[in-house]
């Protein structure tokens, strides 16, 4: 979030221009601004810190190679970069689903969630940490197509139209998958006693 605020204030186009000219510090700025967000997106699809780390690196290599294609007139850097990252991560996810031997080991239980130190009690942190782990566990149990739509809509907060563009499927299908995905996730979380009323 902080990264995006920072890039909003700085000039993304200028950063890219400096990068293309070979300025290493400009590229370092881009990496430090977006690595966390891309890593988290990758983690939501892979459920593995190591796999997300590798995928984030791959995404940045691809971004570096395609920086020439960035056109400031077609949108700001954050949008362009996240769209590219999203497409690559989803492609990777679909590829893994077609080749199950490539699926990553689920290490939801092993990773450490970021704990905010802003005046929260330890109990609250533990609760939030548990909730996040349970949500990721629930998302992992969703079928591939529903999982993708739920992540894009309810975590990445993309509009229906943006999801249509990313997944290249009709809007009606997107809506129905989001609806079905939410219901399935709610039922999974109910069984895990996360969202019981």
């Amino acid at each position: 979030m902080e990264a995006l605020k920072a890039v909003a204030t700085s000039n993304g186009a200028d950063l890219v221009r400096r990068c293309r000219a070979g300025d290493g510090t400009a590229w370092e700025d881009i990496v430090s601004l977006f690595s966390r967000r891309i890593f988290n997106l990758a983690y939501r699809f892979t459920s593995s810190v190591e796999a997300a780390e590798d995928l984030t690196q791959e995404v940045f290599i691809r971004i570096y190679k395609t920086l020439d294609q960035y056109d400031a007139k077609q949108g700001d850097l954050a949008n362009w970069l996240m769209r590219l990252a999203r497409n690559l991560i989803i492609d990777d996810y679909r590829h893994r689903q077609r080749n199950p031997q490539n699926t990553y080991a689920d290490d939801v239980e092993n990773h450490t969630f970021h704990l905010r130190a802003i005046g929260n009690s330890a109990q609250k942190d533990i609760e939030r940490r548990e909730l996040c782990a349970q949500v990721q566990e629930g998302i992992d149990k969703l079928p591939t197509d529903l999982r993708t739509c739920v992540i894009l809509r309810d975590i990445e907060e993309l509009s229906y139209q943006e999801i249509v563009e990313v997944l290249k499927i009709p809007e009606g299908t997107v809506k129905s998958r989001i609806n079905r995905g939410r219901i399935e996730l709610a039922k999974i979380l109910r069984r895990m006693r996360v969202v019981n009323i």
Binding site: R17, G24, E53, N120, L131, V135, N179
Partner: protein, 261 residues
């Protein structure tokens, strides 16, 4: 306690204490210190308002309440059983209901089902909580693993010390030229280029004797000289009775006027 004795806090402390302040879980003195700081610092005051608004928004995400009572729903179902909704259809319309996009006839049937069906009655609330849980998950981002940024830099620019990679002036100039915005879009330059080419061809083929640029230049020079001589003569009071025309015609063929006579 005098004003000077009051506890004072810095902006960083304010941020740390903010959640507890809003939860009313601070001791009296600290609570007061946070309130005083919020009043004195415009940035922290804005932050406090932002957090308050966000919390208000979160509270609004509560399970939806149906506008129909259990008794009304039962009466309607008994009197008009054909309007009852199947559980599957109820689930299909759930997101549209939450988004407020259900048309009135389906809306009422949907609400009736939500009230009466024991299997489905908790589902809307659970979905709303699930969406809120996803939001919490989104906000609680994982930190990037240690060394990931350095790894990316090594894989892309070959070193993790980015300041070593300096930009040379040629690349800088290339990028500067690339970034220039032409006032005329490139497709519109094509007719201009055609006109220029046409003009060059006309000049070289009509004015020049041999069709070369050197010929055009030479002819221009001769005409300039001739014009100068004429002007100088007029200025000096000479009356030109006969004007010698020894010019080459525009088609480049040399004609001697005296021979023609």
């Amino acid at each position: 306690m005098s004003y000077q004795d009051e506890k004072k806090i810095k902006c960083s402390e304010f941020e740390e204490l903010l959640t507890d302040y809003l939860d009313n879980s601070l001791d009296r003195q600290t609570h007061k210190a946070v309130a005083v700081h919020a009043l004195s610092c415009p940035l922290c005051h804005a932050l406090l308002n932002e957090v308050k608004d966000a919390l208000k928004l979160c509270r609004e995400i509560s399970p939806p309440k149906t506008s129909i009572t259990h008794l009304e729903a039962r009466i309607l179902t008994m009197t008009a059983p054909e309007t009852a909704m199947a559980c599957e259809l109820f689930e299909d319309h759930l997101t549209d209901y939450l988004d407020g996009f259900l048309p009135a006839p389906i809306f009422h049937r949907w609400e009736r089902h939500a009230v009466l069906c024991e299997k489905c009655t908790d589902l809307p609330g659970e979905v709303v909580r699930t969406i809120a849980a996803c939001y919490t998950y989104k906000m609680d981002e994982l930190p990037i693993p240690q060394g990931l940024n350095a790894k990316i830099l090594r894989a892309t620019i070959g070193t993790e010390k980015a300041n070593v990679v300096k930009v040379d002036w040629i690349s800088n100039a290339t990028e500067w030229i690339r970034g220039l915005r032409f006032p005329i879009p490139l497709p519109q330059l094509a007719p201009v280029a055609m006109m220029m080419l046409f003009a060059v061809l006309v000049f070289s083929q009509t004015v020049s004797a041999d069709g070369s640029f050197q010929g055009v230049y030479q002819k221009g020079f001769e005409l300039a000289e001739q014009t100068y001589r004429q002007s100088a003569g007029v200025w000096g009071g000479e009356i030109q009775t006969e004007q010698k025309s020894n010019q080459e015609p525009i088609n480049g063929t040399y004609i001697n006027d005296e021979e023609n006579k």
